[in-house]
Amino acid sequence: MDFLVANFGAILFYVVATITVAAAVGVVTLRNPVHAAVSLLLTFLMVAVLFVMSHAEFLAAVQVLVYAGGIMVLYLFVIMLARIKDLGPGKVFLSGLAPLAVLAGVVLGCLIAIGILLGSMAAGDGGAAAMTAVDGEAIGNTEAVGWLLYLKYLVPFEVVSVVLLVAMIGAIVFGRRDAALAGAGEEVEP
């Protein structure tokens, strides 16, 4: 019991990490896209927990709201409404490419690992207080992020807004039903 209490943070972390990885693997491997979507959702939730553990509460909330609440819903809606057919009894993965891809991923991973190992990072949560303070004043994480976002990073904020606008327009354009998209002579789906 003492062990649990004493090392709660570590245990929690490992559990959450394991679930995250498992879910991620599930995303990549599951055949049914809906299943993969659910798995992805799980991943998102676990990542939100991790955010909380890192004293990024606001971001955890945003993660859940946007990712889990918005993007996953979008995925599921598209899967449903576009009548994505299952790929059939064919393979899930591409045959020739799979080993090579795995190799690529592993190689990349190793290299990055080397980089990490070469660097030096100490343990500890040195910035817990900093996460919630601005100018030495403890105001809570959300407010702190807000202060930073709207003052120091205003321009990127505006730019990202524009990007969202463009993406929205793009999505509308893509989603339009007209002959230009569907190709000449092809029947337009209602």
Binding site: V27, L87, G109, M121, G124, V145
Partner: protein, 100 residues
């Protein structure tokens, strides 16, 4: 204790999985999901460092990443709609019109 290193390692693992998934899956939807996975890995990395260094900029950046990911998801799904309309399939290998 659990330090930045652990988070970074986790981020790395997620990234690799996402990369592999990106390259390997036949279904376009799943490919996009792998892409989302990669975004998350990046976010984990950012938050970890933000916490470790005591700098809120990391969180702000992660905020931006989420936003962009949302935008990208929208576009990507629009692409899927278009692809389905065109080819009536979501198999990515069918979309090779641009190939030589």
């Amino acid at each position: 204790m659990i330090g930045a290193t652990h988070y970074v390692a986790l981020s790395l693992i997620l990234l690799c999985i996402g990369v592999v998934g990106l390259m390997v899956r036949r279904n376009f939807i799943t490919v996009l999901m792998s892409l989302e996975l990669m975004f998350n890995a990046v976010n984990v990395n950012l938050i970890a460092f933000s916490f470790r260094l005591g700098d809120l900029a990391g969180q702000v950046l992660a905020m931006f990443v989420i936003t962009i990911a949302a935008a990208e998801a929208a576009i990507g799904l629009g692409l899927i709609i278009a692809l389905v309309r065109l080819k009536d399939t979501v198999a990515l290998e069918e979309a090779d019109e641009m190939g030589g």
